[in-house]
């Protein structure tokens, strides 16, 4: 099976890249770091409404584009490259995924609202001490009332709709619940995060009115996690590619000893090795993205390969990029640390490379 993007997919990539370049260059993202929500509401709205990216792989009946996960991942890769700070991943990918796997009566309406951009959603599923196993959840819903604490929530305060994974009132059963963000009994605590371009928060629920979206079991939950991991991995390789490009560009202009530092083999070889690892990781991410639409493939294996490869290469690319820049690379003014922060943050979200190497072997059955 040979892998190549279609002309339409390449065109989508180009369109998104150009949009991000003009609407949220890194200088603008730096401004957003100091803003209340961490992103420009107009840019996000434009992505959703003008470019029609609100639900790329969501069904056409709910206003989605009805495309595959590959297209979603292409857009994410470009966002990772540009270090886009808006709630696209949290609302238009992860929340859409969660809503798409629910059969509840209200789900279609929520999905339509999220896809159209009328509503911004985020997922709250991880609990204190970074527990994300279903059986470890303590947060629970009882007769339409949800209580507990969720953390590592992306873009929490700017969301209109919270989608929560919690225990149901039947023991050992779990469900997804929707909560209006302005409901009584919700308490947001903003977390100080290493990644300045992705807002994290803890959310406490005290008998909050919740609507059940549908039941989830272990296999549904794993499928959801695989989708999340693959989305993130594709975003990460965009960042890794940007770090490589930045290192090569700087090495090709910076002159020391009467020559560009890029003519020195110590720098050249570092960049060549990085290119190889970026290409290997890309192959894993593209293959995994493609597999998400095919139930017959072993999606968990492919998701774990993608996340392990992307985690390692993004961090390394950012570190190498800082190193190639030398002293200037360690300054606040230089942009490299913003990607390095994203790399370190994404590296460990839903499992670092060691976790996924182990998971891969287990999925292989050895």
């Amino acid at each position: 099976m040979e892998f190549a993007f279609t002309d339409e997919q390449n065109q989508l990539r180009e369109t998104v890249a150009q949009f991000l370049e003009s609407r949220c260059p890194i200088a603008e993202t730096r401004n957003q770091i100091r803003s209340t929500n961490g992103h420009d509401q107009d840019v996000w709205r434009s992505l959703v409404r003008d470019l029609g990216l609100g639900g790329i792989h969501a069904p056409v009946e709910q206003g989605g584009a009805g495309l595959s996960y590959v297209e979603t991942c292409i857009v994410l890769e470009e966002m990772g490259r540009a270090l886009y700070s808006g709630p696209f991943l949290s609302s238009n990918v992860l929340s859409v995924n969660a809503l798409m796997c629910c059969e509840g009566a209200n789900t279609a309406t929520f999905l339509t609202d999220v896809v159209s951009g009328d509503s911004k959603a985020t997922l709250a599923f991880i609990e204190r001490n970074a527990k994300w196993n279903l059986q470890e959840f303590e947060c629970s819903a009882n007769n339409g009332s949800l209580s507990g604490e969720k953390t590592f929530v992306f873009d929490g305060p700017s969301a209109d709709l919270l989608i929560i994974a919690a225990r149901s009132n039947i023991s050992d059963r779990y469900g997804l619940y929707a909560v209006e963000a302005n409901s009584a009994g919700i308490d947001y605590v903003a977390l100080d995060s290493i990644d300045l371009t992705r807002r994290l928060s803890t959310i406490r629920f005290d008998s909050v009115k919740a609507i059940e979206l549908g039941a989830i079991d272990e296999s549904k939950y794993q499928a959801f996690l695989d989708l999340a991991v693959v989305a993130l991995a594709n975003e990460m390789i965009g960042g890794a590619q940007r770090m490589l490009d930045s290192a090569v560009e700087y090495a090709s202009t910076r002159v020391q000893f009467g020559r560009t530092i890029g003519s020195l083999q110590a720098i050249k070889h570092k960049c060549a090795e990085l290119l190889l690892d970026v290409e290997l990781a890309k192959s894993a991410c593209y293959r995994a993205a493609e597999a998400m639409d095919h139930e017959d493939l072993n999606r968990s294996q492919l998701a774990s390969i993608a996340k392990a490869m992307a985690s390692d290469v993004f961090v390394r690319a950012a570190l190498d990029c800082i190193q190639v820049h030398g002293g200037i690379g360690f300054t606040w003014e230089n942009d490299t640390h913003l990607w390095y922060r994203r790399a370190k943050s994404s590296e460990v979200y839903l499992g670092d490379s060691s976790f996924h190497r182990e998971r891969y072997l287990q999925e292989l059955g050895v």
Binding site: F3, R259, S263, Q265, K268, H269, A272, L275, L364
Partner: protein
């Protein structure tokens, strides 16, 4: 001859021809001569030279039909086809007349005389000299890493003919008769114990004037043609599986021919690290229960998968019309890293048993052979360092290093 080839026409023509001519009990040499005359042995070649001018895209159709019949093709082992393609591109008609047929029939064996003890990565630094004296070229010097030199009838020789011009301009390409007094072939033993290559010493060896390939001083350009075909053929070196449809004496003759020339490559799979053995070894030794081993094993399997997918992406890009360029260097570098990782995993799974070789060693010495063969992979066919230079300069567009060897070769510092 202008033929309007279509897939069905090719298939039909080949099929008819094979039906009329293929005989599994013919003598190999007779069959190959018939084949060479027909043009179906090297169909993409010009019809003037043993081909039928077939568009390269249709060659697989011919191979499919040969396979269907179980028909033996032209000789392909060793570097013979690199020699043939080089002569086709740069040789004189006299040279093509003399050599091409016997390359394809397998009657004559060839070797490639490029690398020298003093010029490895820097191939253009060859110092084997050829001087024109009394109506012949006189050759003196030493070549190394020559596969099959002890079997070879002829060699492709890159030699220096002018020391007063820059290095790339002072070389000339020759065909040298290996069966002469001035040529001494010695085996070269490698660190893994095998002797798959040779050293070749030239002491006043002679070359007739008409065995110069292309112009004097054009040797580098001709050598590039040979190397281009070498890269293309890299994956096919160890012979191709033939579908035997029936018994026939011709198959035994062919097997003997290919055994002779593929013998040097028996350890090549070990050189690549034998990733295929890794999981079984981890299970057999119970090191699969060790957390650190699991991590390294998993890393190895992932690298190997990703390299496969990356190669598939490169092929797809090629099919879409993008030229195959330095991606080859990326693939080579990937294989090298995978082999080194496999080395680590085999050592972890075998533990202290890794100290043992031969019959005392794990898997009857196979693990030891892996441990002792892997170091070759990051050197042979261009070192990792050279691949990284190629990637950095041609893919990433980084500046070349300033050169210290651009003046007349006579004044360039060398070994």
């Amino acid at each position: 001859m202008n033929v309007d080839w279509s897939e069905s026409k090719v298939r039909q023509d080949v099929r008819e021809w094979l039906r009329a001519n293929w005989n599994p009990n013919a003598k190999l040499i007779d069959w190959r001569n018939t084949l060479v005359d027909s043009g179906w042995g090297m169909p993409a070649w010009p019809s003037r030279w043993f081909g039928v001018d077939l568009p390269p895209g249709l060659v697989p159709v011919v191979l499919e039909e040969f396979n269907r019949f179980g028909a033996v093709g032209v000789a392909r082992t060793g570097i013979r086809l690199l020699a043939a393609e080089t002569l086709l591109a740069h040789g004189t008609d006299e040279q093509r007349e003399r050599f091409l047929r016997r390359i394809l029939t397998g009657e004559e064996i060839w070797c490639q005389l490029f690398s020298e003890p003093g010029s490895g990565s820097d191939l253009a630094g060859v110092t084997t000299r050829a001087e024109q004296q009394g109506g012949v070229w006189i050759v003196n010097g030493q070549k190394v890493w020559t596969t099959s030199a002890h079997h070879a009838d002829f060699g492709l020789l890159l030699a220096r003919t002018n020391w007063d011009v820059p290095k790339h301009q002072g070389m000339t390409y020759f065909v040298i008769d290996m069966r002469q007094g001035g040529v001494d072939v010695q085996p070269l033993r490698q660190m893994n114990g095998y002797a798959s290559f040779n050293q070749v010493f030239f002491t006043n060896a002679t070359i007739p004037l008409n065995m110069r390939v292309d112009d004097e001083g054009n040797g580098w350009r001709v050598a590039m043609t040979t190397l281009m075909y070498e890269r293309r053929a890299a994956n096919a070196l160890t012979g191709q599986g033939l579908n035997r449809r029936s018994d026939g004496s011709i198959y035994e003759e062919e097997a003997k021919e290919s055994a002779l020339l593929t013998e040097p490559y028996t350890w090549y799979p070990q050189r690549a690290g034998r990733v295929d053995l890794a999981v079984d070894r981890a299970l057999a030794t119970k090191s699969i229960e060790d957390h650190a081993t699991r991590q390294e094993l998993s890393r190895l399997l992932m690298m190997s998968k990703c390299a496969e997918w990356t190669a598939s992406r490169a092929r797809a890009a090629q099919q879409q019309g993008q030229s195959q360029g330095p991606e080859g260097s990326l693939g080579k570098l990937a294989n090298s890293q995978i082999a080194k990782q496999a080395l680590k995993v085999h050592t972890m799974t075998s533990g202290m048993e890794s100290m043992l070789a031969g019959e005392d060693g794990p898997l009857d010495g196979l693990i030891a052979e892996i441990l002792l063969s892997v170091p070759a992979i990051s050197i042979a066919g261009g070192t990792d360092e050279i691949q990284k230079n190629i990637i950095a300069e041609r893919v990433l567009g980084m500046e070349k290093e300033p050169r210290l060897d651009s003046g007349p070769f006579r004044d360039v510092r060398r070994n």
